[in-house]
Every structure is written in structure tokens, then in C-alpha cells.
Symmetry: C2
Subunit: 415 residues, 2 copies
């Protein structure tokens, strides 16, 4: 067994993304690499999608004499000069070892750990640009919430990334409202990281890739472990064990639990939004906390069942019922998330959720509604609509085919 002292190299970490959640992850990771200098290089690259930003005269950074305040500035330069992402995470100081980099290709050069925090619709394009620009033995962690569900199947974002880049990619998800975490308020998260055996120290020439076509999931597959031609991490790097991956994310205010269940962690972040709509309907009806807790419980068990039905043994019930990415994320989303609030408003105003979305979200879309439609289309294709009565009830309500008052009846088990 290689020990830490055998490692002569350190991991270089790049955050691919610099929005609200990406910048928060950069802050956390940058604090951690300084705490573990034998494992990680001190500089954390953060890829910044370049844009022009003007410092607001009300900002604490405004100084009429400063060259930074003479018109619009490049966001990456503001990040590096102010040590703050004033556009996407204002009023939060970043450690000085976070380096904003407008060049994606430059930011990932020689990085062994890539933390993906980009809007899911950009995954394909960004991975296209990364191909050939990253070291072949890089490892990824996707902090992108949700999964791709259609009538053709289910694809985990971390898997899509791993497949496109030919690397292993794990997943991070939890009850994580970014701004609260950036302020150092206590939170938990779940990191799923379970590379196939080739990732043990040194190359393992007898290990053949498990599968080469990776687009769609069907039961009994092993999500996240199927990328073709995985390259082993060279022996002069510290191993990316659960222990070391945890050190990259765990902070006194951000507690990490490591698991191996990539599918469960990814599904939790998607399906909870459908449950949050149901909870919002209950609250909108004025039915109180019993009813809200009931649909949360029923929803959580449908999440467990969804994992079991479509990912077999690889999606563990405990990931949903015991981890931050499951039960705790359901709780947070049903206490005040956007899906919950819009669903509640819809009932209170006698409007459709779509109308509330139009009126309240400035052109943004609710994740819960699109997930509810995608999940329904998938379940219909599988002939399993009736096995998920709460998910189906939410879809039917969105479609105007059922009323929220019918939820208790619709989800009552039939003997």
C-alpha cells in the first residue's frame, strides 16, 4: 500500500463554474487546501465565464478614485483584485488562494480534481471544450443538482460528465442553500465517490472498462463507474480515498458525509423538487403541518422506490432516508424553497403553477415542474405511473387533471 509519504505530487483543484454555488464551493475548497498542504496545491483555480461588471456606487468596494470604478470591469479581474465575486456572491470574502481564470482550458491544465458547478444545460458544450485539455487521470465531482430524465431513460449529470471526458466523476448534493453556507452558517452535505477498482494505486492493466455505451441507465447498471478507459491516478499522487476527498470539502461549518451511492445522491437533488411542489400545495390549502409532513414522508418513500426500481441495488434506501442529499434536502426544500413557494402561491391565488412562475420568476423556470413532467413521461414509458402516486398526482395537478384536495385520496394505498 502506498502511503501519504510516498506521494511527491499534490492535487491541483479547479472549480469549473463561478456562479453563486460555484463561488461558494471555491471558498470552501480554498480554505481546505490550505488546511491540507501535503495533499493539495495551494492555488485553487476557478473558471469564470467572463462578463463585464460595474461596481455599484452603494457597494463597499466603491471608491470613485479607484481605476476599478471607472466603468465596467472584467468579472475575473474583479474576483482577483477584490477577492469577492461581487456579481454572484456579494459581500462574501474569498480566500486569496482562489484565482479567477477566464480561460477554461488554462484553468483546468494539470488539474487532477475538477469540481463542476455549472448550469446543467452547459454540460455538453463545456465538456466538449475540456476534451484533450485535462490530464487523463483527472477525477471529477459534480455539484450540479438533478438528473436528466426523459422517456428515453435517466442520465446522471456526473455520469454524463464522466462519459464525455473519459474520467470518473462523483457527485455532491445536500440541504445546501449556497448563501447560508457562504456566510459560514452550519450545513451538511453528501459526497458520493466510488470510482471503479482501477482507481486503486497504480495502473491495473487487467481491469477492463465495464461498459462503453454510457448514455442511458437501466436497472442493475453501476452508475458513475462505467466510463470507458479510465486512467489510473499516477502513484506519485496521494490517493483520492474517501478520507482525502472529504478533506477537500469538509469544514467546521460544512459537514460532509461520504457515501458510494452516486445514483441516490443525484436522484435526491432532482426528485425532492417534485415533493416540494406537493408540500406547497398542502400549505396553500391551509392544511397545516401534519399534511405537509405526510406528503414529505410519502414523497421520500417514492424517491427510495424510484431509486430501487431504476437503479437496482446501486441506489441505497439509506441515501434517501438518512443522508443530507435525501431527507434533509427534502426538508429544506419543503420549508421555503422556490418550488414550494410557487406551488403554495398558485393555490392561494387560484392560479396555475405556470402562471405563478411567469409572474414571479423573471423568466426563470422551476426545476420541480420540469422534473415532474420528465419523470411522468419516463414512468409512463415504463408503464409504472401508478406505482408512484404522489409524483403522478403532482403531474396531474400541474396539468389541471386533478385538484390538490385529491392528494390524500390519490396517494392512499389501494388494497
Amino acid at each position: 500500500m502506498a502511503t501519504l509519504s510516498a506521494a511527491s505530487k499534490k492535487h491541483k483543484v479547479t472549480i469549473v463554474g463561478s456562479g453563486n454555488w460555484g463561488t461558494t464551493m471555491a471558498k470552501i475548497v480554498a480554505e481546505n487546501v490550505k488546511s491540507h498542504p501535503s495533499l493539495f496545491e495551494e492555488t485553487v483555480q476557478m473558471w469564470v465565464y467572463e462578463e463585464e461588471v460595474t461596481i455599484d456606487p452603494k457597494s463597499r468596494h466603491y471608491d470613485p478614485n479607484s481605476p476599478l470604478c471607472q466603468g465596467p470591469q472584467k468579472l475575473s479581474q474583479l474576483v482577483n483584485k477584490l477577492h469577492e465575486n461581487i456579481k454572484y456572491l456579494p459581500n462574501i470574502s474569498l480566500p486569496e488562494n482562489v484565482v479567477g481564470n477566464p480561460s477554461l482550458e488554462d484553468a483546468v491544465q494539470d488539474s487532477t480534481v475538477l469540481v463542476f458547478v455549472i448550469p446543467h444545460q452547459f454540460i455538453g458544450r463545456i465538456c466538449d471544450r475540456l476534451k484533450g485539455k485535462i490530464v487523463p487521470y483527472a477525477r471529477g465531482i459534480s455539484c450540479i443538482k438533478g438528473v436528466d430524465v426523459s422517456d428515453k431513460g435517466i442520465r446522471l449529470f456526473c455520469e454524463a460528465i464522466g462519459h464525455q471526458l473519459g474520467i470518473y466523476c462523483g457527485a455532491l448534493s445536500g440541504a445546501n442553500i449556497a448563501t447560508e453556507i457562504a456566510q459560514g452558517k452550519y450545513s451538511e452535505t453528501t459526497v458520493a465517490y466510488d470510482p471503479p477498482p482501477i482507481d486503486s494505486r497504480g495502473p491495473s492493466p487487467t481491469e477492463s472498462p465495464r461498459e462503453s455505451e454510457v448514455d442511458l441507465i437501466s436497472p442493475s447498471k453501476e452508475p458513475g463507474r462505467r466510463s470507458a478507459k479510465l486512467s489510473a491516478l499516477p502513484i506519485d499522487y496521494p490517493p483520492l480515498s474517501h478520507e482525502n476527498v472529504k478533506k477537500l470539502f469538509h469544514r467546521p461549518y460544512f459537514h460532509v458525509r461520504m457515501v458510494s451511492d452516486v445514483a441516490g445522491v443525484s436522484l435526491g437533488g432532482a426528485l425532492k423538487n417534485v415533493v416540494a411542489l406537493a408540500a406547497g400545495f398542502m400549505d396553500g390549502l391551509g392544511w397545516g403541518d401534519n399534511a405537509k409532513a405526510a406528503v414529505m414522508r410519502v414523497g421520500l418513500l417514492e424517491m427510495v422506490k424510484f431509486g430501487r426500481c431504476f437503479f437496482g441495488e446501486t441506489a441505497k434506501p439509506e441515501t434517501f432516508t438518512e443522508e443530507s442529499c435525501g431527507m434533509a434536502d427534502v426538508v429544506t426544500s419543503c420549508m421555503g424553497g422556490r418550488n414550494f413557494r410557487c406551488a403554495r402561491m398558485a393555490i392561494e391565488r387560484g392560479q396555475s403553477v405556470y402562471e405563478v412562475e411567469q409572474a414571479e420568476l423573471n423568466g426563470q423556470k422551476l426545476q420541480g415542474t420540469s422534473t415532474a413532467y420528465e419523470v411522468h413521461s419516463f414512468l409512463k414509458n415504463e408503464g409504472m405511473v401508478e406505482d408512484f402516486p404522489l409524483f403522478t398526482a403532482v403531474y396531474d395537478i400541474l396539468e389541471g387533471k386533478a385538484k390538490p384536495e385529491q392528494i390524500p385520496d390519490l396517494i392512499e394505498p389501494r388494497d
Copy 2:
């Protein structure tokens, strides 16, 4: 196998108690016996602890010419004349087959099903009065939340009742705010009912009592199944199977899930109050929903562990993580229950929880604080204080030995 048609008798049901929750249970049960006339007698007796009540002039029942409004009236008579418990469940109409009975002994006569809904401190005295007055083959369901914990051990209330009366007693608990349920708002609950094999149809003379001293629990015991000399239900009654017990409680607005885990159901209703205090501390600090969800998750897992440590295989993790009496009751209690609110106020006002209790609760006591002390005393005696860091943190905060801000550090797993 005896079938339903073989049964010539019907179960008579008595609600022992008529407070807010007891009257709600009487309403539910009375609705259900009418729906299942082949199983249950139509009249549901409700024992009313007699007191004098004056109808308020603002009440919908006030009529200056009515004899009921000429001074104080007996509560049991008001229940039977107005079909409402105007003192403990005002403005909720009761089915006319609920009969308020001021005589405990008369109310339980010939009843085969006793539903206990009394304050826990009266269990001993009321069971003393019931001894010899009930049929020996009666079965109980305790709707009394909580357990008795002391440094001597843990006693489930349903077990205490079963032992004292020499009958089997199950338990009902869930995310159940009584008034919401009485209004017909949707809710769920969990009923644990698992009598020992003697309860199969017909007497079973070879079945010997499993245990005769029943006061204290230790691991590997079988809670609720240890009452000495259980009498078999005569064969001319319909069996009290899960299916039939469910019919007594399940309503379209009150969904019942049947389980066999009496210990898990009982523990959930007690330990969740300690978790609610922790959630209130987080909210009082203004730490947001992530932090609240985190302590709820950690607390739920300590509940699972408590069950496993002290009830062995009989307390199932799923009872806590998947049932209304576990996860859902934690959610409800941490969204707005009394323990949650008082803990939050304590932090906001810079007072102790004890001071808030004194100021806000009119002499009533918080269940969470007494449970936190009892659990701590028990864990200390078992040498297991450090195995339950959240329960211990709550105790330490109540004692002024720790600050709420320390919770993340105190509950962080030590490697």
C-alpha cells in the same frame, strides 16, 4: 382459519380519555365503527373525567332560554347533548354514536378494545381502577406520546398499561396535531400492534408467558409482548388483525400505516421533542434552513441508534426513518411545535429555555426538556453519553454548560 363470518360478536370500543386528542380519537373511531358494522358495535364509549363547564355566551351553543345555559353543566352531559366537547375540542361536531360516560368502570365494561388517551402521569392510577373491571381478553392501544426514561431504564407507556392490566397494548403515534385532524385536514399516523402468538384465534394453552417482571427494558427484550398471562380473544370475535385494527383508525383524512414495532413508535414520540429543541436553537441563531435540516437529520439518526442500542432488533431503523411516528413527526415538531418555539425564543431573547417555559406556558411544562434530562440521566448510567452527541448537546445547553453555537462542533463525528 376462522373467517369473518364465523364471528358472532362485535368489538366494543372505549376511548379512555376525553381531552383534545382523546376527543379527536373518539371522533375518528366513531366514524369508523359505523363504516364497519360487522366488526364493531356502533356505540363508542368515551370516558369523561367529570367537571363543571359553563357555556360561554359567545358560543354557538349559547341560548339564554336553554336549560344547558343556566349555570355550570356536567361536561359528560354537554358532550352527549351537544355532540361536542366544548371545553377540549370546541367547534368540532362529534358523531352521535360517541357517548360521553363519567364512570370509568361503566365505560369500559365488556369493551374488547381500549384506546388510552390520558396524560401519562395518570396511567398508574387509572389502570389501578380498571383492574378487574375489564374483560381479560381486552386489547389496548395507547395514544399517549412518549416513554418513561430514568437512570433505571426505559418503560414504554403501552407496556406499562399492558403490564398493569394483564392485557396486550399497542401504540399509536405520528405527526398528529389534534386540532388539524379533528377539522378533517389530511394527516398520517403509525399504529404498532404486535400481540404475542397467543392472540391467534382460540386459546393456546401451550403458550407460556414470556416474562413476568415487566418494569424495565433492557436490550433484546420484546417490548409490548411480555405481559404475563395474556388471555386469548374468544373465537366468536373478529380477529384483531392488522387489517381490522387499521379499520378502527384509518379515515380518508387520517391515513394509518400498521407496523409491529411498538418500541420504535413509542420512542419516536418522546425523542423527537429533544430534536425539536435543537432545531429551535438553530432557528433562534438565525442559521437558516440548512442548519435546521442538519440537526433534524442528525437527531433522527440518534433516534435510530437509541432504538438499536436499547431495544435491539425490536426497534427497526425504518420505523424512525420511514414512518409518520418518526421522520414525519420530527418534521412537524421542528416546524412549529411548542418545544421548537420555546427553544427559538430562548435564543432570541437571551433567556434560558426554563425562563421561556415559565413566561409562556402558564405553568405547563415542555416535554422536550424533561425528556432531554431523563435521556441524559439514562445515557450517563449506561456510560453512553458520547454516543449521542446531539442529545447530549441539548442537555448541556439546557444546563448552561454549552452554547447553541457549539452544536456543529459538538455533533461532528470524531475520527
